[in-house]
C-alpha cells in the first residue's frame, strides 16, 4: 500500500492538526474530523483505510463509535489514542497513550492495516 488514507478523529483542534501534519509528513493522506458524527457522515464519501480515534469525543466515547460502526457491518481498522489514564475497557484495541511518539503511531497504523 503506497499511500494509506487515514481519518483522524479528535476534538482538540491543535492535536488534530498536528497529527494530520505528522501522518502527511510520513506520506499518508489524511482526513481530519472533530466528532464521531463527522466520521459517520464522511463514510459516504470515501472510506478511510484506517481511523485514528480519540477515546474522549464530545458527542460520544471513541469505543462506542467503534462499536456503532461494527454493528453496522462497517469494518474499519482503528487505532485509539487517549489522554486518560484508564485504558482498561479497550483491551481488544490498540490504545496509545498521549503524547504519542511518531514511531509508535506509525507502527500501530501499519499493524492494523496489515491485520485487515
Amino acid at each position: 500500500m503506497t499511500s494509506p488514507y487515514v481519518a483522524i478523529v479528535e476534538d482538540d483542534d491543535s492535536v488534530r492538526v498536528a497529527l494530520g501534519r505528522l501522518c502527511r509528513a510520513y506520506g499518508m493522506s489524511t482526513r481530519e474530523l472533530a466528532t464521531a458524527h463527522e466520521l459517520v457522515a464522511s463514510l459516504t464519501e470515501r472510506r478511510p483505510d484506517c481511523v485514528v480515534l480519540d477515546l474522549q469525543l464530545p458527542d460520544c466515547d471513541g469505543l462506542d463509535a467503534d462499536e456503532w460502526l461494527r454493528e453496522r457491518g462497517i469494518e474499519l481498522p482503528v487505532v485509539i489514542i487517549t489522554g486518560r489514564d484508564d485504558t482498561k475497557r479497550s483491551s481488544e484495541h490498540v490504545v496509545l497513550p498521549k503524547p504519542v511518539d511518531d514511531t509508535t503511531l506509525l507502527a500501530a497504523i501499519r499493524n492494523v492495516l496489515n491485520g485487515r
Binding site: S14, V15, A25, G83, K98, P99, D102
Partner: protein, 545 residues
C-alpha cells in the same frame, strides 16, 4: 570562662559595668527612699536588679554577676554602714536572689515573659515566699530578735524587710528582664496607631498618677479616688501586653513613691510606718491582678493567632486535596498540548529529513508549538498559584476573573463528564475585598460540588449556570446553579457542616471550608433547591465601591 572573641569580651565587660552602675544607683535609691527613723528601705531595688541580672545570664556566669554586685554593694554601703553589716547583707541578698532565680528556672519555664497565667503566678508566689523566708536571715531581723535593734520588734522588722524585697522583685525585676530581653524592638515594631494608643495610655497613667499622688493631703479624704488608677492600668494590661503592663505598674509605683515622699497624696495622713505599709500594699495588691490580666489577654491572643494559622493550614490542605481530585483531569489537559507539540516537532523533523520542508509550513508548525507550549505553561501556572501555601493577601478582586480561573481549572473535568457551562459574567460588576486564591477555592469547590451532584443526571442535561450580578448597592452576588440531585430536604444547611458528605470519596470539607472562607470575607454562602431540578449556591460578598 570567657569566650576567645575579644569583641564578646568587650561587650561582656561593658555589660558587667552597666550592672555595677545600675546596682549602685539602686542601692543609693533604696537608701535615700526611707522614711525618718527607719533603716529599712521602702523598696529595696538593688535585689530586683540583681535577680534580673541572674535571670538574664546563664548560670555559668552567675559568679561574675554576684562578684560585681558584691563589690558595688560594699562601695555604695560603706559610707553609711559597718563592714560586718554590709557583708551580711551581701550574703543574704545573694542567697535570696540566687534561690529565687533557681526556683524560677526550675518551675517557671524561663525565659521570663509573664505571658502565661502560670508564669505570673509562679513568679509572684516564688518572689514573695522567698522574700519572706530570707527576710528572717537579714541582720536587722536577727538583731531585733536578739534585742540589739531598739527601733523594731522582730516581727515588724521581718514584715518590713519582706515587703520591701517582695515589692521590689514584683515591680522592678519584670521590667528590667522584659526590656532586657527585647531591647527597643517592641517600640520599633509599633504601628503609628499603636504608638498613638501607647502614648495616650502613658499620658492617662501619669495624669491620674499626678492627680492622686501629686496633690495635697485633701485627697486622703476621698480614698475611693484611688480607684482612678485602675482604668489606665487595665487599658495598659489589655492593649500593651506584659511588657507594657509591668512598665505601667512601675511607673505608677514611682509616681506614688515620689508623691508620698513629698508629703502628698492619699497616704500622708498616716504615720511613717503606716505610710510605708500602705504604699507597699498598694503596689502589691495592684501588681498581681494587672500582670495576670495581661497574661490572660496574651494567652488569648496567642490562642487566636494559632487558631488562625491552623485554619490557614487547613484551607491550604483542602486546596491541595482538591487539586489532587482534579489531577486526572489536569493530566489530560496537559497531555493535549504535549501531544500536539510532539506531533508537530516530529512532523517538521520528518519533512526536513525528506527534503519536503517548505519554509511557510515550518513557520506555521513552530508557531503552533510555541502556542501549545504557552497553553501548557498556563495550566501549570494556574495550578501552582492555586496550591501554593502563602499568607492571605487581601485586595480588591474582580469576581469575574475569579470565576474564569475556577472554570479554567475545572475545564478538563467539566469536559470529561460532559457538563456544559453557561456563564454570565459581566465585567462591570464592582470588585470585592478579598483573597484571590481563597475565592477561587470557594468557586472551585462549588463547581466540583455541582458536578458531583449531577452524577445521576443524564449527560445531555448536565448544565451549570454561573451568574454574577450586583445584588444591591453594597453587595455582589455569585450564583452557581446545577441540575443535580439537590440538597437534602429539610437539612439544606447540613451540607455546610464539616465531614458531611453524600459521596463515597472526598472528605466533606469543601463546602464547610468554602463557607468559612466566605464568612472570613464578611460575606455569606448558602444553598437552596431549585424549582425544577438541582440546587443553587449563592455567595454574597461586600462590594468595595
Amino acid at each position: 570562662m570567657w569566650p576567645h572573641l575579644s569583641k564578646n569580651r568587650v561587650s561582656r565587660i561593658a555589660w558587667l559595668g552597666a550592672l555595677a552602675l545600675g546596682y549602685y544607683v539602686a542601692v543609693r535609691l533604696g537608701l535615700s527612699f526611707r522614711f525618718q527613723n527607719s533603716i529599712i528601705g521602702v523598696v529595696w531595688i538593688a535585689n530586683a536588679v540583681l535577680l534580673a541580672a541572674l535571670l538574664l545570664t546563664p548560670v555559668a556566669r552567675w559568679p561574675w554577676v554576684l562578684a560585681v554586685t558584691a563589690v558595688t554593694h560594699l562601695a555604695a554601703m560603706l559610707p553609711d554602714a559597718a563592714l560586718w553589716r554590709a557583708l551580711w547583707q551581701i550574703g543574704i541578698n545573694a542567697a535570696l536572689t540566687t534561690t529565687t532565680a533557681l526556683v524560677l528556672r526550675r518551675f517557671a519555664d524561663l525565659p521570663l515573659t509573664l505571658a502565661t497565667r502560670r508564669q505570673v503566678l509562679v513568679y509572684t508566689v516564688a518572689s514573695f515566699a522567698l522574700a519572706a523566708l530570707f527576710a528572717l536571715g537579714t541582720p536587722i531581723v536577727v538583731r531585733s530578735a536578739l534585742g540589739l535593734e531598739p527601733s523594731y520588734t522582730h516581727a515588724v522588722a521581718w514584715l518590713r524587710v519582706a515587703l520591701s524585697n517582695g515589692a521590689a522583685l514584683l515591680l522592678v525585676t519584670p521590667v528590667i528582664v522584659l526590656w532586657g530581653q527585647h531591647g527597643l524592638t517592641p517600640l520599633e515594631r509599633l504601628t503609628p496607631r499603636a504608638m498613638l494608643e501607647g502614648g495616650a495610655i502613658v499620658v492617662c497613667l501619669f495624669t491620674v498618677g499626678f492627680v492622686l499622688f501629686g496633690t495635697g493631703s485633701e485627697i486622703a479624704r476621698f480614698p475611693a479616688l484611688l480607684m482612678l488608677i485602675f482604668p489606665p492600668l487595665l487599658w495598659a494590661a489589655v492593649r500593651l501586653g506584659p511588657l507594657g503592663a509591668s512598665t505601667a505598674l512601675l511607673g505608677i509605683a514611682a509616681v506614688s513613691a515620689w508623691g508620698t515622699a513629698g508629703q502628698l497624696g492619699p497616704f500622708v495622713a498616716f504615720s511613717d510606718a503606716t505610710k510605708v505599709l500602705s504604699l507597699q500594699l498598694f503596689w502589691i495588691t495592684m501588681s498581681t491582678p494587672i500582670l495576670l490580666l495581661a497574661a490572660v489577654i496574651r494567652e488569648r491572643e496567642q490562642a487566636e493567632s494559632s487558631l488562625l494559622t491552623l485554619r490557614q493550614h487547613l484551607t491550604h490542605a483542602t486546596r491541595v486535596a482538591t487539586a489532587g481530585e482534579l489531577s486526572g483531569a489536569l493530566a489530560h489537559e496537559l497531555r493535549q498540548p504535549l501531544t500536539a507539540i510532539l506531533a508537530n516537532a516530529q512532523a517538521a523533523r520528518t519533512l526536513l529529513d525528506k527534503g519536503f520542508a517548505d519554509a511557510d509550513e515550518l513557520r506555521m508548525i513552530l508557531d503552533d508549538i510555541a502556542l501549545q507550549d504557552r497553553y501548557a505553561a498556563d495550566v501549570i501556572t494556574r495550578l501552582r498559584a492555586f496550591v501554593q501555601e502563602r499568607e492571605p493577601h487581601f485586595e480588591p478582586i474582580a469576581l469575574d476573573v475569579v470565576v474564569r480561573d475556577a472554570l479554567a481549572l475545572t475545564k478538563a473535568l467539566l469536559d470529561r463528564i460532559g457538563v456544559s457551562v453557561d456563564a454570565d459574567l459581566p465585567p462591570d460588576v464592582p470588585r470585592v475585598w478579598g483573597d484571590a486564591v481563597q475565592l477561587v477555592q470557594v468557586v472551585l469547590n462549588l463547581i466540583l460540588n455541582a458536578c458531583e451532584s449531577m452524577y445521576h443526571t443524564p449527560a445531555p442535561e448536565r448544565r451549570l449556570r454561573v451568574e454574577l450580578a450586583r445584588n444591591d448597592t453594597h453587595f455582589v452576588e455569585l450564583a452557581i446553579a446545577d441540575r443535580g440531585d439537590g440538597l437534602p430536604l429539610g437539612a439544606q444547611d447540613k451540607v455546610f457542616e464539616p465531614f458531611f458528605t453524600t459521596k463515597e470519596t472526598g472528605l466533606g470539607l469543601g463546602l464547610a471550608i468554602g463557607r468559612s472562607i466566605v464568612t472570613a470575607h464578611g460575606g455569606r454562602l448558602w444553598g437552596e433547591n431549585n424549582e425544577g431540578r438541582g440546587a443553587t449556591f449563592r455567595v454574597l460578598l461586600r462590594a468595595t465601591a
